[in-house]
């Protein structure tokens, strides 16, 4: 394999390309789904992809394939050479040279996952399925309980001497279920990602999903109006994902951001601090280098409401007169883009139970529907919402069939308090937020 890569780099010189970069992703995946205590689906796979980025005269082309055979690499280099002529010049185009750092090899996590007997994985699934079925009269109908594991390698090599490799692993589990009462089904869904398989197995996902469905039984609409709202930490992660599009250096540069030209200005509530930290150990977003081989770092994006800096890759940084922040995001089949490594809103010290008991009338939003419909460029959103109604300091009933709408910038300015209940949902994390004057539409 190594020989073929070296031959490919050499061949690119012979073809008069200025530079060549090879980005390789390989993975071994296992995915198990059970139903009624038995395996329903069992998938095992090994896959790999090879992306070739060819650069000539400040132009770049990308050709990808699935093999490291020299014949295929050569074919793809020739193809890239043919395509590259058609692109427009990009003055800021750049590649990394050799840097002084070592890629992470997560040996412990990989071994623990690989050595965990299949039976243990199945028993965990059966256990959460059993939890999800509930006890007593209210039966939980479990749609599926699934377990996934991924052991991956990322590798980047280029003609400027860059040569880095990273190996990692993570596991995930999910359960979705419904509880039926009076002919109406309410659903509950719960999942977790963890690099540490033993920690994953400690999560009682079945109980969590069951409780989510149960508290929604008898849900109805709420009246249209402005409410004091508790945004549950899972929802805050969703809203953070939308907001974060505006701190993406490419969007800032191309005018696709609410916060263009607003660096150093206070843009949202001073209670909010947002960081992106690719170095943070143990979390799903940990990465030793980004898609261009730049070492990742800890970036403070919003400091107490003030916009400190956006995130960048090499070429966008050059265009924007700044430095790369180690946020090149890509796959083998895509050009270098920009994305977050491990993004989070820092926790505060508010307690959700206390917020509830202090509210005469309020709403807890626990789930959003149609997140992909929100427009991160304008910040405007109107999404389906469901959750719980608070009356006289207590949770009174569930609600759904309602929309929550507004502008992200307004929502993040109307924050009253930040929760202490920080939690990761995939690569992003956030605490719950107490927000005033949120528009809900219903009956």
């Amino acid at each position: 394999m190594r020989d073929n890569i070296n031959k490919a780099l050499k061949y690119s010189r012979e073809c008069q390309l200025d530079d060549l970069e090879i980005y390789i992703e390989a993975g071994e995946e296992l995915s198990i789904e059970i139903r009624n205590g038995e395996i329903d689906k069992f998938q095992e796979s090994k896959s790999s992809g090879v992306g070739i980025r060819a650069i000539k005269n400040k132009k770049q082309a990308l050709v990808y394939g699935t093999s490291l055979d020299f014949d295929e690499l050569k074919y793809n280099i020739d193809k890239a050479k043919g395509i590259v002529e058609y692109l427009d010049e990009d003055e800021a185009l750049d590649l990394n040279s050799e840097e002084q750092y070592d890629g992470i090899i997560m040996e412990k996590e990989i071994n623990e996952i690989a050595q965990m007997p299949l039976n243990e994985k199945l028993s965990y699934l059966k256990e959460i399925e059993k939890q999800g079925s509930g006890q007593g009269d209210l039966k939980g109908m479990v749609e599926s309980s699934s377990y996934d594991e991924v052991i991956y390698t990322r590798q980047i090599i280029n003609t400027r001497g860059l040569d880095k490799i990273e190996k990692g692993a993570y596991t995930a589990a999910a359960i979705s279920l419904a509880i039926e009462q009076k002919g109406i089904k309410e659903t509950g869904f719960s999942y977790d990602y963890n690099r540490d398989i033993n920690k994953l197995f400690q999560r009682k996902l079945g109980d969590e999903a069951y409780l989510k469905a149960k508290e929604m039984l008898g849900a109805n609409q709420v009246e249209t109006g402005k409410y004091m709202v508790i945004l549950n930490n899972e929802i805050v992660v969703d809203l953070l994902s939308l907001l974060s599009s505006s701190f993406n250096g490419e969007n800032l540069f191309k005018g696709k951001s609410l916060y263009k030209d607003k660096e150093s200005q206070k843009i949202i509530s001073d209670l909010i601090t947002i960081v992106d930290d690719g170095l943070k150990e143990g979390v799903l977003g940990q990465k030793s280098f980004d898609g261009e081989g730049t070492k990742t770092q800890n970036n403070i994006i919003i400091d107490k409401g003030v916009f400190k800096k956006g995130i960048y890759n090499l070429s966008m940084a050059k265009k924007s007169n700044t430095k790369t922040t180690g946020n090149c995001s890509r796959s083998y089949s895509s050009f270098p883009g920009i994305g977050y490594n491990s993004l989070s809103i820092e926790a505060g010290d508010g307690k959700v139970e206390k917020w509830i008991s202090n509210l005469d009338q309020g709403i807890i939003v626990k789930e959003l529907m149609g997140l992909h419909m929100a427009n991160p460029i304008t910040g405007e959103f109107s999404l389906g919402a469901s959750g719980l109604v608070i009356k006289n300091g207590k949770i009174s009933n569930g609600f759904r069939g309602v929309t929550i709408s507004g502008n992200l910038n307004d929502i993040f300015n109307q924050i009253v308090e930040i929760g202490s209940d920080f939690e990761y949902k995939g690569t992003k994390g956030a605490p719950s937020l107490l927000v005033k004057d949120v528009i809900l539409s219903g009956s």
Binding site: E44, G65, S405
Partner: protein, 460 residues
């Protein structure tokens, strides 16, 4: 890719190893894309993936693996890993296979020699020039052109052996507009089961100028109102509502798990008698069309709801067997790396008898949806949402101001039952439908519809 004999040997091996069903899905997928942004050709990507997905079903359990290594050793290793270890090891010769090749009658046009990169680039650059020539608040324009093809062979232990070729082409453009600190965006997409001829035969100037006009209008639109009101959805609005309000709930893999509001309701009234819902994978050139589905079942026209009565579900092989209902040609997959699941193709509400132009005039005070965007559904309780990308208020039976930022939310069976006017017009939109992490191309359509009361989630 690989030969018939090897494929059938592996099928025999799997069945002899205790399989009730075995399948090989071979795919060669080629993709080509051009992206223009910031007035520059920023990206050209070309790629190819070839792989095989092998499925093995034994006593209700599905085992699946895929590989990009199509050598005999690699495929046998996978098959071996998959089979029941208690196999007696005797390979029984199962059956003979006769290849059925999809004909090209469902493609937009017969495939011709591919247009050169130069010509495609010329068209994209031309659209960019047309857009910027217009006096507007346009601040950024993205044009993405994507062309791809799938070469597929499927063989299974039920004797299916088919070959299909699916070229697809798509053009997407999005404009970003800015005025006095306000940003708006507008978007459109066209595409077909076919090659570049489809794009060539469109009026691309109109396509791009429409996007500019839509964005410009949005800058002057007011925030949509909030609350429950009468809603008219135009025949030009696309088909997101039918896709979400009932399409997903009629997928048999969801039904069999009891996770659909439409489960156990065949023969019952689930919609207004004005409503007939059809899923049809055979419509020539449509984005969701295919000659076969991804399990080798011939696609067809499936009437799902007829005059309000639930007639059937769409199925893949396993869900059809479990529910003991017919195969409908809806077993689809994103590629060789994924298991087939029940998916829609081209789904629509059939035109009715109400004169479309009278539908707006019939509403005193409400919302007119001219274009829908994306949507989502919870199939278990039937709640669905969809986005309004172009909407207007209706005042005294006439279109009034344009409004922005609205999402509509409703409950599938409830809304379908309350639709009280169904227009005599019709229109389609296309998209990529996501389910279980797999995206497949679909199209949806409907005539103009009136719903007497629906929750509008606006910003005022």
């Amino acid at each position: 890719m690989i030969d018939k004999e090897l494929m059938s040997k592996i099928i025999d091996y799997l069945i002899s190893g205790g399989g009730d069903f075995a399948e090989i899905f071979l795919e060669k997928r080629e993709n080509f894309g051009i992206s223009l942004e910031n007035k520059k050709i920023e990206k050209i990507v070309s790629g190819k993936k070839t792989g095989a997905g092998i499925r093995f079903v034994s006593k209700g359990k599905t085992f699946f693996a895929f590989t990009e290594d199509l050598s005999e050793t690699s495929l046998y290793k996978i098959a071996k890993d998959l089979v029941n270890k208690n196999s007696d090891g005797n390979i029984k010769k199962n059956q003979s296979f006769n290849l059925i090749t999809a004909d090209d009658s469902y493609l937009y046009r017969k495939i011709t020699a591919d247009t050169s990169i130069e010509e495609k680039l010329e068209q994209i650059i031309h659209m960019n020039q047309v857009a910027w020539k217009e006096v507007s608040h346009l601040n950024q324009l993205m044009i993405n052109y994507g062309q791809g093809s799938q070469d597929i062979y499927i063989m299974n232990s039920k004797g299916v052996f088919i070959k299909d070729f699916r070229p697809r082409v798509k053009l997407i453009a999005q404009g970003i507009f800015e005025k006095d600190g306000q940003i708006q965006s507008s978007y459109d997409a066209i595409g077909a089961l076919g090659d570049h001829q489809f794009i060539k035969n469109r009026n691309l100037d109109d396509f791009i100028l429409n996007i500019i006009a839509k964005g410009e209008n949005l800058l002057n639109a007011e925030g949509a109102p909030s609350g429950t009101m009468p809603v008219v959805i135009s025949g030009d609005a696309g088909g997101t509502m039918v896709h979400e309000a009932c399409g997903h709930g009629l997928e048999a893999d969801i039904v069999k798990k009891g996770m659909s509001v439409y489960a156990d309701k065949i023969g019952q009234k689930v919609a207004s008698e004005k409503i007939t819902v059809i899923d049809d994978g055979t419509i020539k050139g449509r984005y969701g069309t295919g000659y076969f589905d991804d399990e080798g079942t011939k696609t067809k026209e499936n009437v799902l709801i007829e005059n309000g009565i639930l007639k059937g579900y769409i199925t893949d092989i396993l869900s059809a067997e479990e529910l003991k209902i017919p195969l409908t040609g809806n077993g689809r997959r994103e590629g060789y790396h994924a298991l087939p699941i029940t998916r829609m193709t081209n789904t629509y509400i059939k035109s009715g008898d109400d004169e479309s132009k009278n539908i707006i005039t019939s509403v005193e005070d409400g919302l007119y949806v001219h274009k829908m965007g994306g949507g989502q559904v919870n199939t278990a309780n039937g709640d669905f949402v969809f986005e309004v990308t172009e909407g207007y208020l209706i005042k005294n039976g006439k279109l009034d101001k344009q409004v922005k930022g609205a999402t509509l939310i409703g409950n599938g069976p409830d809304v379908l039952n309350r639709i009280d006017m169904v227009g005599d017009d019709f229109g389609y939109s296309l998209g990529t439908c996501g389910k279980d992490g797999q995206g497949v191309p679909v199209a949806d359509g409907q005539p103009t519809l009136r719903i007497p009361g629906l929750v509008v989630g606006g910003v005022q």
